[in-house]
């Protein structure tokens, strides 16, 4: 009989936006003086969200990152947690990792829990690899004796016996991560909580991380995995939780939850970028709208493999620019850039522009493997970045019949499909 090893009950977490970044002692004295004198607090936040949930967001500087989240995890379960940015994944993870305390609710855990929000936490550049293995292991709660027992295994796994007594400041960043992961992989917890940050590094390293996680899960241990990468979730997890706006939105088999998650964001065929936050640039112009269109010029969010995708970029100029350069970057589900489309490569010379422009990048015969892709857009002029909203749109590529029957596309072995011609050479 399986037993419950994690029990989450009515977990909520409130952030007070007002105190983020700290306060000055003077401010607090001011506030309390004002209260004492019966005046209005000069530092009180103005209510900007009149329509918000009045019960909980009674003060506008409060934000509920998690609300009444409850679930049970049974021993040996491998659970994926997905959700958009701000859905509460990180907060849930932080609470389970005891990095921060919940506002209300309770979590009960049975067994030793190891939480990897990052590999190599606390690595010190001046210390040798050996010393860092011990330090890092201790930070994750291992005793010296436990680390000593596993030390040889850890070193072997990392693959640099030779450099283990070299200060890690002489390591390349790749070596650093490998050693750090070697420690993490040997924590040997009963419950493992992993953030997708582990998915950094090269493909071989990612494969190794996934392999290790699958092995941990196979040993009957419990794994909680937070990821944006839907293929990872579907590959490893047996159950999936989707968070939305701080609450549990859907629970079930990974397939159905992932498709629910994707359908939620699939509507973004025409994205208003004016309010987009994650962007850099000098502000001479702003990319104000991005749309995805199919071969017929209709807005679409889903493209069968082999069809045409058009990216429409609408720009609003704050001043005249000469020959700006437009770019579209297509990222894989983990956010890694895959394709880079540049207007100059394809010969667009737009000349002097001001006011508003719209440009279109058309890609025929898209060979991207089925899955979800994210898009960043950029405008540059005179070698300077003008506006660069990141990961601001997304589209979906779906399977479609190939010219010679179904394409069997396993993302394990490829990311991009190219048509190739095969002939027999011995006849």
């Amino acid at each position: 009989m399986s037993e419950t090893v994690i029990q989450v009950r009515d977990l909520s977490k409130r952030y007070r936006l007002g105190v983020i970044g700290g306060r000055r002692l003077v401010d607090d004295i001011n506030s309390s003086m004002a209260r004492l004198l019966g005046r209005q607090d000069p530092l009180a936040k103005v209510d900007l969200l009149p329509g918000a949930d009045k019960q909980k967001a009674a003060r506008s500087d409060e934000m509920w990152a998690l609300q009444n989240v409850s679930f049970d995890v049974e021993k040996g379960a491998v659970i994926g947690i997905i959700g958009r940015n701000g859905a509460g994944k990180s907060t849930l993870l932080k609470i389970l990792s005891r990095v921060t305390a919940p506002t209300t609710g309770e979590v009960r855990v049975k067994g030793r829990i190891a939480s990897l929000l990052e590999v190599g936490t606390g690595f010190h550049p001046e210390l040798t690899g050996r010393e860092n293995v011990f330090l890092n292991g201790a930070i994750y709660g291992m005793t010296k004796a436990e680390i000593r027992d596993r030390f040889d295994e850890i070193v072997e796994f990392s693959g640099f016996e030779k450099y283990i007594d070299t200060p890690v400041k002489r390591y390349s960043s790749g070596m650093w991560v490998r050693l750090a992961f070697a420690v993490a992989a040997h924590l040997d917890p009963e419950i493992l909580i992993v953030d997708e940050v582990l998915a950094v590094g090269d493909a071989a390293f990612q494969e190794r991380c996934l392999g290790k996680m699958e092995k941990v899960a196979g040993d009957g241990r419990t794994v909680l995995l937070v990821s944006h990468n839907m293929s990872t979730i579907q590959q490893i997890c047996k159950e999936c939780i989707m968070l939305k706006n701080g609450s549990i939105h859907k629970v079930g088999a990974p397939g159905s939850v992932v498709s629910e998650y994707l359908s939620e964001t699939r509507v973004a065929t025409n994205v208003d970028l004016t309010q987009w936050q994650d962007r850099t640039g000098n502000g001479f112009a702003k990319l104000s709208r991005m749309a995805f269109l199919n071969a017929d010029g209709e807005e679409a969010g889903i493209f069968p493999i082999g069809t045409t995708i058009c990216f429409d970029l609408e720009t609003t100029y704050n001043r005249e620019l000469i020959d700006p350069l437009f770019e579209v970057i297509i990222h894989d589900p983990a956010g890694e850039p895959l394709m880079h489309l540049r207007s100059e490569h394809d010969g667009l010379r737009i000349g002097k522009v001001n006011g508003r422009t719209s440009v279109r990048a058309r890609v025929d015969n898209v060979g991207l493997y089925p899955g979800r892709y994210f898009v960043s857009a950029r405008i540059a002029a005179g070698g300077r970045n003008v506006d660069f909203p990141r990961l601001c749109g997304s589209f979906q590529v779906t399977p479609s019949p190939g010219r010679h029957g179904d394409l069997r596309l396993n993302p394990k072995w490829g990311k991009y499909h190219l048509d190739s011609t095969w002939t027999r050479g011995d006849q």
């Binding site: 105190v19 409850s70 990095v99 929000l117 609450s247 549990i248």
Partner: protein, 304 residues
């Protein structure tokens, strides 16, 4: 906030009946995570379980310190030596402040060695949260292990400076200076413990407060300096007029420094009452510090 904002979701993996049977059966949870727990929920057992981490931190602090500086551990020796020299010239020879008839070098050096230990404990631990924000944000371990490791690392530094002091001490002793080591030397471990406790306690109070009041950080250096002048480091307690002496005695570091000096040199103002007061003050400051620190560590990450 959202259409799902107030719905209560209870989802179970596996059958409900199973879960029910279990909840009745067992209460052997190894970990319970709750909101801001009571003031006295200190998880001190956890701290003991992570004792290896404390030793790793101590090692890290020490190794990284001497690897990063050219002169390495020599700095530990140079700093009190130069300070002693400065004090001897300025306060001893120019300002001609009394040293209770003791050799000036020994008088200042004993004060500085003892004070440095306390001062370093205070200033270093007061930065605990800021200096470790990136680690604290990623992994749980008892946060107190950081300030405790700082206090221990400083003990190594103290040992080196103390060794230096002993070199001068024996030099003066054999030259037949007017110094009388006495039975108060047996109190040395207690004095060290109290200084460590005071430094740790006040350091973690400050570090807890700095998470809310950032500007406090800049006051620490200055405050420690100021505190030094209200402790008999550069002048003996006996040189203070009787009616103002209570101000000095109210500072719990005063009896510790005076006793430290008295134990080695045989001159000074020492009483068990004052030492008892120091001990009680240390205990109070430590308790307040640990309670505050424990309170802050749970939600500290929300404010950075």
């Amino acid at each position: 906030m959202s259409e799902h904002g107030t719905t209560l979701n209870i989802e179970k993996f596996g059958s409900a009946s199973e879960a029910k049977a279990l909840s009745a059966e067992a209460d052997d949870w190894t970990l319970i995570i709750r909101p801001q727990t009571g003031w006295f929920d200190l998880h001190l057992a956890d701290l003991w379980r992570y004792r290896d981490l404390v030793t790793m931190f101590v090692r890290r602090d020490f190794v990284s310190f001497y690897k990063q500086t050219v002169l390495g551990p020599l700095w530990f020796v140079l700093q009190p030596l130069l300070t002693t020299l400065t004090f001897t010239i300025i306060f001893g020879n120019l300002a001609k402040i009394s040293t209770d008839g003791l050799p000036k070098i020994l008088f200042y050096m004993s004060g500085i060695t003892a004070w440095n230990y306390f001062g370093e404990c205070l200033t270093k631990t007061s930065d605990t949260f800021n200096a470790n924000a990136s680690i604290f944000g990623k992994v749980y371990f008892p946060r107190l292990s950081v300030p405790i490791s700082i206090v221990i690392s400083n003990l190594i530094k103290f040992a080196i400076q103390f060794g230096l002091f002993l070199v001068f001490y024996f030099y003066f002793l054999f030259r037949g200076s007017n110094i009388q080591p006495n039975s108060m030397l047996l109190m040395l471990p207690v004095l060290l413990l109290l200084m460590a406790g005071l430094g740790l306690g006040s350091g973690i109070i400050v570090s807890s407060l700095t998470t809310r009041y950032r500007d406090l950080r800049f006051l620490v250096q200055f405050g420690t300096q100021l505190l030094m002048y209200s402790t008999p480091v550069i002048f003996p307690l006996s040189s203070i007029p009787e009616q103002y002496r209570w101000i000095m005695i109210a500072n719990p570091m005063t009896p510790l420094i005076e006793t430290f000096r008295y134990a080695f040199l045989g001159t000074g103002t020492v009483s068990w009452g004052m030492l008892g007061y120091s001990a009680v003050a240390t205990l109070v400051i430590m308790t307040v510090g640990i309670l505050l620190f424990n309170r802050v560590e749970k939600t500290f990450m929300d404010t950075v």
